[in-house]
């Protein structure tokens, strides 16, 4: 076995095995996925229903944890509604939860009374028996009830800095985000399609330049294979993206997103490349014209899918417009452990396929010339 020649195939196989298995089986962190009601009027005793996904008090989490408060088995001790504007919080008087599902019923006295509390959004925090918190920022809107203007207040006018500063300790699990939920795992499958496409088209651009410089037909054929497999990655990126968008953004193709429009135009340019190549019959002319075309469209493609969305004010994609990208504050450390290998693995796999296609094309060329 020639390791030097085959290393990227091993990279593709091992990295993708790791990414697919880890990406599918590693659990999501517990997180609040919903609460009811989301709008409340203050005054009197009220109850709040909170849905918690992968709740740490579920019985399956208690496996091997004999005592409450040990290992993964944590019970909720307190629910707080934390105000941002007026520093302070409301706290529960009683909590009901069951070990069979992740729903929690919190009763609290919500009297604003004579204290100066404004109508605003409150963040919800659940305190667990190990002192950690599950939180959902600005999740509930509370306004002062008509009869709740005087008297005793349940508002605790001090900031619980512990809840606010509950920095995440590294755990081998994926973050749980509203809207995304389990589909956060698609980061390892949908996003690397585009990384692979960009890598392959970039390499194709490089080989096209090489062809124009040295005039070797092998370079032209390799560039062509890279473009074709790059387009395959792009098409798969589009379809997987549409599937993901359907469940999270509620639309197959949110047309207002500049990234999607940019990709649509960019892909069309590469389809035009295929058309152009198929119409030219003379191999040398075909190689030269498509090489020039490919060198020209690659920077435009980059501009369309990376630079334009960044300048636009309204993109849903991370890393463009007002939305955040993959810098150290956005991408969770567990996600990184799988995302980077995923990118490398998928690029290696597509490169492998492009290499196969190139070898088949060379064989065909030899047959024609023989």
């Amino acid at each position: 076995m020639n390791w030097k020649k085959h290393w990227y195939k091993w990279v593709a196989a091992l990295f993708l095995l790791y990414v697919v298995l880890g990406g599918l089986f590693l659990p999501l962190k517990p997180g609040i996925t919903g609460l009811s009601p989301v709008k409340i009027t203050s005054g009197g005793s009220q109850s709040l229903k909170i849905n918690v996904y992968n709740a740490p008090w579920l019985k399956e989490n208690a496996f091997n944890d004999k005592e409450i408060g040990q290992g993964n088995y944590q019970i909720p001790t307190k629910v707080m509604l934390v105000s941002k504007g007026t520093k302070g919080r409301f706290q529960t008087t009683a909590i009901k939860f069951s070990g069979d599902h992740g729903q929690l019923l919190a009763s609290m006295n919500l009297n604003m009374g004579s204290s100066k509390v404004s109508n605003e959004y409150y963040s919800v925090f659940i305190e667990l028996s190990n002192g950690k918190y599950l939180g959902l920022p600005e999740a509930i809107y509370m306004e002062r009830g008509a009869n709740d203007t005087a008297g005793k207040s349940n508002f605790i006018a001090e900031e619980n800095t512990q809840a606010r500063d509950d920095r995440e300790i590294f755990e081998m699990s994926f973050p749980n985000r509203m809207v995304l939920n389990e589909s956060v795992r698609n980061l390892f499958y949908h996003v690397p399609m585009w990384f692979a496409m960009l890598a392959l088209l970039g390499m194709a651009c490089w080989y096209a330049i090489k062809y124009l410089r040295f005039g070797q037909m092998e370079d032209d054929m390799f560039a062509d294979s890279l473009v074709r497999v790059g387009i395959l990655a792009g098409i798969l990126g589009c379809i997987t993206g549409a599937t993901w968008a359907r469940v999270t953004w509620q639309s197959w193709w949110p047309a207002a997103d500049p990234k999607l429009n940019g990709v649509a135009i960019g892909m069309t340019m590469y389809f035009a490349y295929l058309l152009l190549r198929s119409t030219l019959t003379d191999p040398y002319q075909r190689a030269r014209i498509t090489a020039v075309y490919s060198v020209f469209i690659f920077p435009i493609f980059i501009a369309l899918i990376l630079i334009m969305p960044k300048l636009s004010p309204n993109s849903l994609h991370p890393g463009s417009g007002g939305t955040v990208g993959f810098n150290k504050y956005d991408l969770d450390s567990t996600m990184r452990l799988f995302f980077y290998p995923a990118v490398i693995g998928w690029i290696a796999l597509y490169y492998w396929i492009a290499n196969l296609r190139y070898r088949i094309a060379t064989l065909k060329e030899k047959e024609l010339n023989a």
Binding site: L35, P37, E182, L232, L236, T243, L363
Partner: protein, 55 residues
């Protein structure tokens, strides 16, 4: 007991969120990639067969 529209909405939203954990989206995406790459490999396979027949 009569529910107001907002209460009904809240209840539905909570139920929806509890039911749809979106794991299916992950399976769908993986299946699409798998099928896509497989179809491309089938096409390559046919090309090889053609060359084999010619020689």
């Amino acid at each position: 007991m009569k529910q107001t529209i907002t209460e009904q909405f809240d209840a539905n939203a909570a139920e929806l969120l509890a039911k749809h954990n979106l794991m299916n989206a992950v399976y769908a995406v993986l299946a699409i990639i798998f099928v896509g790459i497989l179809l491309y490999l089938v096409r390559l396979d046919r090309k090889v067969s053609k060359i084999e027949k010619q020689s």
